[in-house]
Amino acid sequence: MTELAPSSQDAMAVVRAQNLGLTFPTNDGDVIALSDVNLTINKGEFVSFIGPSGCGKTTFLRTIADLEQPTSGTLTVNGTTPSDARLNRAYGYVFQAPALYPWRTIAQNVALPLEIMGLSDKAERIARTLELVNLTGFENKYPWQLSGGMQQRASIARALSFDADLLLMDEPFGALDEIVRDHLNSELLKLWARTRKTIAFVTHSIPEAVYLSTKIVVMSPRPGRVTDIIESDLPAERPLDIRETPEFLRLAARVRDGLRAGHSYEE
């Protein structure tokens, strides 16, 4: 099978990993961060990666983004290598920390990728993406004048500003408190519904993963691998109180079982 052959399945696949492995050499011997990962992310899906620390969920996301290089197996992004996809500016990446540049205002931070990529109609894009994350009116504030939740929203606006179809999010709400996190989760779902982007989302919160996703990838550590892939049957319309319904709790229980299974041979 040739990698770039456009079959009917590939047309839908945004990310396709086959037997993917990544080993970090360290002074204490090799650390297997990813082992034999097979996974396809289709266009328009919201895929969550969940697992304990060290399970390779962030490493997998960074591999898609070409921030890490796999040591075995194949990985395609939009049908090309991750490196080409990065050079084509195929994705927007949201990090664990907002990483806004403190010498730039919010509007200038959102404009940063636009300046680098030489895109036109900056003002229109800034206004549109800040409106998407409900930060209209904060254009001229500096990042250190905003709360943590607002900073993370600004960093999401920055990742959206150049209209990449794929959004990679690495525990973007991990440092925020529960209430802000709930709010941003429902905002993110609305944003996803409006923009129809493909989202890969790393988290270690079971409710967050179940609430947001159309597909949940459960991973386990040592070596980092996929133990379960759960297709969610929750409706597309998800108010926050869907988290008390039996369907939601059943999915959450299955995720928890998957996490526990990955842990069973430890301790």
Binding site: A65, D66, L67, R86, L87, R89, Y91, G92, Y93, F95, Q96, A97, A99, Y101, P102, W103, L112, P113, E115, I116, M117, Y142, W144
Partner: protein, 373 residues
């Protein structure tokens, strides 16, 4: 004593108030006994003695300030009247100093408790401190007839400064406007450019950093005569010394600053597929700015020192270092001090300008905006 229990004065302030009052009382007795005490000085020690009444009656802080002013003026007025200053004169100086300290203590307490505006009076304290220093210097050198060769009075230095303005301006132009500024610009510029090259190539990092280190370890006294032989007697050789002194601080600070951007900030640039120069201009140099300004500030004072010292080793007959070395030989110590005063003001102003630019450029840094990281 009831003053000890009065809550409005701290223990230090009580002690100062007591000291000022008692010293005034003693000076008053001695002055009355001598019979030839000048009237303003008598008035000062008399009123100062009266402040001992603060035991019963609270004295507002500006009374202490007024007494300090009155004492200073009375002392200056009395200075030329005596061949050798009598004991009550020195006691009055001690009392005046105690009133000044007490006034500043109470003023800063009032600013802290927001009884008076810190914006207006905050400046009074450092200015008063500087003036008090000059005042004590003036009174002690003239009152105790300190030989001018050891330490001239500030007024003598000031008179000499006004009388030699053309000389001082010519020296300033030669040393500061030519040697210091040119050397500073070239040294800092070269350090900055080499830092960027060093950062780009590990090979240069291994080769150039030790050489920079080596050059910075060379003593100015050693390289100055060599630079004079290489670049001649005029300002160019002094600028070369300044380049040698300012290059290394800039190199080391910029190299350290370029590694300040966090890995997450660099990863962000990588996800945008940003080029090397885009990452440098939009991330790494702004993040390095606090380090670069540190070097600019260190170098602003180093450059002046370097240029002045370098002029000791051969120069045309103009320049601040040349003037200092020749006038010391002629025992014109007041002109040496005038030259030192010009150098101090010029160096401080240079530093201040750089610090102001730093505040404007690195306004976002926690150390400038007074926030947390």
């Amino acid at each position: 004593m009831t003053a000890m229990t009065r809550p409005t004065l701290s223990r230090l302030q009580q002690g100062l108030a007591l000291l000022a009052g008692l010293v005034c009382a003693l000076a008053l007795v001695l002055a009355l006994l001598s019979g030839d005490a000048p009237l303003p000085l008598l008035a000062f020690v008399g009123l100062g003695t009266l402040t001992l009444l603060r035991v019963r009656l609270p004295v507002p802080l500006w009374i202490d300030g007024l007494l300090m002013l009155l004492g200073a003026m009375a002392l200056l007025q009395a200075l030329p009247l005596f061949a050798t200053e009598p004991a009550y004169f020195w006691l009055a100086l001690v009392a005046c100093w105690a009133f000044a300290w007490l006034f500043v203590e109470r003023l800063s307490q009032a600013i802290r408790s927001r009884q008076v505006s810190g914006r207006v009076f905050g400046l009074v304290i450092p200015v008063l401190f500087g003036l008090a220093l000059l005042f004590v210097w003036e009174v002690v050198t003239r009152g105790a007839n300190v030989p001018q060769v050891l330490l001239p009075a500030p007024s003598q230095i000031w008179t000499r400064l006004l009388a030699s303005v053309p000389t001082l301006v010519a020296d300033f132009q030669q040393t500061f406007l030519k040697a210091v500024l040119a050397g500073y610009a070239m040294g800092c510029g070269a350090g900055f450019i080499v830092a960027i090259l060093v950062d780009r190539s590990p090979f240069l990092k291994r080769g150039l950093l030790p050489i920079g280190n080596f050059v910075s370890a060379l003593p100015v006294i050693g390289i100055a005569p060599i630079m004079v032989m290489w670049f001649g007697f005029d300002w160019q050789s002094k600028a070369a010394v300044v380049v040698a002194m300012t290059f290394f601080p800039m190199l080391v600070n910029t190299v350290a600053g370029l590694s300040q951007a966090s890995s997450i900030e660099r990863d962000l640039m990588r996800t945008y597929a940003a080029s090397y120069s885009q990452t440098l201009l939009k991330l790494r140099l702004p993040a390095a700015a606090p380090f670069i300004f540190n070097a600019l500030k260190i170098n602003s004072t180093l450059a002046l020192i370097g240029a002045i010292v370098a002029e000791f080793f051969g120069t045309p007959i103009v320049g601040m270092g040349f003037r200092i070395s020749t006038e010391v030989g002629k025992l014109n110590i007041d002109l040496v001090w005038a030259e030192i005063a010009v150098a101090a003001v010029a160096g401080s102003a240079f530093y201040g300008v750089i610090a102001l630019i730093e505040r404007a450029v690195t306004f976002w840094h926690p150390s400038v905006r007074g926030g947390r990281a």
